[in-house]
Structure formats: C-alpha cells, structure tokens
C-alpha cells in the first residue's frame, strides 16, 4: 500500500464537495488504496448526516415569521426617515433648477422651447394625455408608514376612551392620556379629535 500523502483537510473538502473535478478523480483513486482516508471520509460523512438530521428536526416545520411586513413598517414609523433617496435628490435638483431659471426669464424661455422640441423629437409628443398610473404601484414608504401611524393613533385613542368608560378612570387620568395621544397625532385629524375630547373632559371636571 502506498504511503498516504493526503491531509485531513482534503478528506473534509472531498466530503464537502469543495474539490474540483481533477482533484476528485485523484482523491478517489487514492481512496481505493488508502483505508485511512476511506475511514476519515466515512466518519465525516456520518458527522454531516447526524448534524443534518438534528438540524432538520429543528427547522422541519418552520414557517415565516408572523406579520413581518406590518411589524417592519410599524418599526420604521418609530424612527426618523433615512437619508434622501435618489428620486428625492433628483426632485430636489429639479426644484433648484426651476428656481434658478425663474430668475433668468429669457434664458429659461429659450431652454423651455429647446426642451419641448428635443422631447418631441426624441421621445414623442409631450402634450398627449398623461398615461393613467397603476395606483397599486404608488404606495410609497411614507404613505405606508403614515397608514400604520394612523392605525396606532386610532388604537391609542380607542384605549383612552375604553379606559374612560369601562374602567371609569378619573378625569385627570384621561386628560393626561388624551394629551399624549394629541402629541402622538400631531399633523393628523386625530389631533383635533383629541382636542375635542380634552375640551369635553375639562368641562366635566
């Protein structure tokens, strides 16, 4: 029997399928003459089989995490928005350009004419009716976040009212809760609703 010149690493790579074709041929030829390497290969194969079985047991009935999407957008609503995206940077740039052009009317008029002609030339009639948009595509992150924020505010508001009526919380308790909702709801119609309730509670106190 020839002396074994193969390393443990080669046996592992072989089991793992990490050898290239010519190395596989060479190693298999070696295996046919080397008991030592054959034993190693068999052991590593069994190690993998054992671990595979044990891991499969854990993840056999795996399902996707629940409500991940809703949780994500709710989580995003809690933090300040990320840095400007490409599209917002582009629109900022366009706004800047318009502002500059407004100050230089003649130049801007010429540019406008030139733009219309080149658009008509390269793209097509710019005055044809705008295509209708697929509304389902226009759900920006902000819109979705805002939607979840509204849901959260609504839930808080319901909590306050439920507490007030069912648990008979005292008036001042309700006032502080309503103030919290009002802060949370800034910029939405819920803020007005909270204010209205606050006024009512105050008049009862």
């Amino acid at each position: 029997m020839p002396k074994c010149n193969k390393s443990e690493a080669q046996a592992i790579d072989y089991v793992y399928g990490e050898l290239d074709v010519s190395q596989v041929v060479d190693f298999e030829r070696h295996l046919s003459t080397c008991n030592n390497c054959t034993r190693k290969v068999n052991t590593y194969k069994r190690v993998l089989r054992l671990v595979d079985e044990a891991e499969a047991e854990l993840t056999a009935h795996i399902i996707a995490p629940r409500n991940l999407e809703a949780k994500l957008y709710r989580r995003l609503a809690e933090v300040p928005p990320v840095k400007p995206t490409l599209s917002s940077r582009l629109s900022d740039f366009a706004t800047g350009l318009l502002l500059t052009l407004r100050e230089q009317k003649v130049v801007s008029f010429c540019l406008f004419i030139f733009a219309v002609i080149s658009v008509a030339f390269f793209v097509g009639n710019p005055f044809r009716p705008a295509p209708t948009f697929d509304m389902s595509q226009i759900d920006s992150a902000d819109a979705r976040i805002e939607q979840y924020r509204h849901q959260d505010i609504q839930r808080s508001m319901e909590d306050v009212l439920r507490n007030r009526h069912l648990r008979n919380s005292d008036g001042w308790d309700t006032v502080s809760q309503l103030n919290r909702v009002k802060d949370q709801a800034q910029g939405t119609n819920w803020a007005n609703i909270a204010k209205k309730h606050l006024k009512n509670v105050h008049s009862e106190l």
Binding site: Y44, T59, I62, A64, D139
Partner: protein
C-alpha cells in the same frame, strides 16, 4: 410579482420608490433568514425579532447599497452580524472560546451522551445533544458551517458574507468539522448510526 425578476432588479425598483419591490424581496428571503437565525440562536422568539431587525436594517441601508455582491449575500451579512452580537450580549452559557479546548468540550458532551449508556437515546434527545455540539463551535466556525451547509452558499460567498478571506473560511470549516467529529465521537462509535 414576477419570480423571473432578479433580486438586484428589485433593489433598483425599490431605490426608485417601489415599495412593492421591497415586499417581494422580503417575501423571498424571510423564511430563509428566519431559518438561518433560528439555527443560530435556537429560540423562536429571538429568531423572529432578529429577522425583523435584519429587514429593518436592510430597508434603511438599501437606498445607499451598491451591488458589489448578491443581495442575498448582503442579507446574510446583516443576519450574521446580528447573531454574533446576539451571542456576545447573551453569553447565556459558559463558552469555551479557546479553539484548542476541544477536548474539554468533548468531555462535556460525551458525559451527556454516555449518561444513558445502555438504553437507546430517544431521537429527540439525540437531536438536542447534536445541536448542542454544533453550538459548541466558535461563533465564526458555526457561521461558516451553517452558511455553507444549510444556506447553500459557496465558499466564496461565505467569505464575502463574513468579510473573510476564502482561505480563512476553509480553515474555519475544517476546524468545525474536526471539532464536530470529536464532540460526536460517542455517537459515531455507536454502530447503529
């Protein structure tokens, strides 16, 4: 959404404002990332929380992400970093971090296995012991082993994911295999397996 659209195309669509593109990416990878994290942290609730964290981070960083590697590789990078942080902060059980202490660990697991010398170990019990042996790997060894074995990543992709050289990945993989072989020796010597 069309399965034929590749991930990188969806990333481009997301960057130009399509929220649906991100939903589709999430749909494609939530199970995989969850499975990976579950194998890593061994706890459903924590794995769920970390999965949310992965997509949260991805969402926030995707706008400035440049596709040098595959999108999926990038997701696994975020997940790996989070799970390493998780293990660091938890430090739930005594960890024998030194890589040369295989022998001590082997003894720990071997005692567990041979405490049931005569009768057959229950299937479940055996699974638990094997998973514990996997958890005895260092965090890098385990990450390499898991990504290569269960996430279908090639050595090159594992290297990209974990920010290592390919040679280093192979070394970790070799050590992981040798260690597992040592730890599981009592089971391997049982002829019925």
């Amino acid at each position: 959404m069309d399965k034929l659209i590749d991930d990188e195309m969806l990333v481009t669509q997301f960057k130009s404002g399509s929220q649906k593109a991100f939903d589709e990416l999430m749909k494609r990878y939530e199970r995989k990332i969850f499975g990976y994290l579950l194998r890593s942290v061994r706890n459903y609730e924590d794995a769920e929380e970390l999965t949310l964290e992965v997509f949260f981070k991805a969402y926030r960083a995707l706008g400035s992400w440049e596709p040098k590697a595959k999108f999926s590789t990038w997701l696994y990078t975020i997940a790996s970093n989070l799970s390493i942080d998780y293990h660091r902060s938890k430090a739930r059980k005594p960890v024998y971090m030194l890589e040369d202490e295989d022998v001590i660990e082997a003894r720990v697991v071997a005692t567990d296995i041979s405490s049931n010398p005569e009768k057959q170990l229950e299937e479940k019990e055996r699974g638990r012991i094997i998973r514990e042996a996997v958890d005895e790997l260092s965090s890098k060894q385990k990450a390499v082993f898991m990504l290569a074995r269960y996430e279908g990543l090639q050595i090159k992709e594992v290297a990209e994911t974990l920010g290592m050289a390919e040679g280093t990945v192979k070394i970790h993989l070799h050590r992981a295999m040798k260690k597992l072989q040592t730890l599981l020796r009592p089971l391997l010597e049982n002829n019925e397996i």
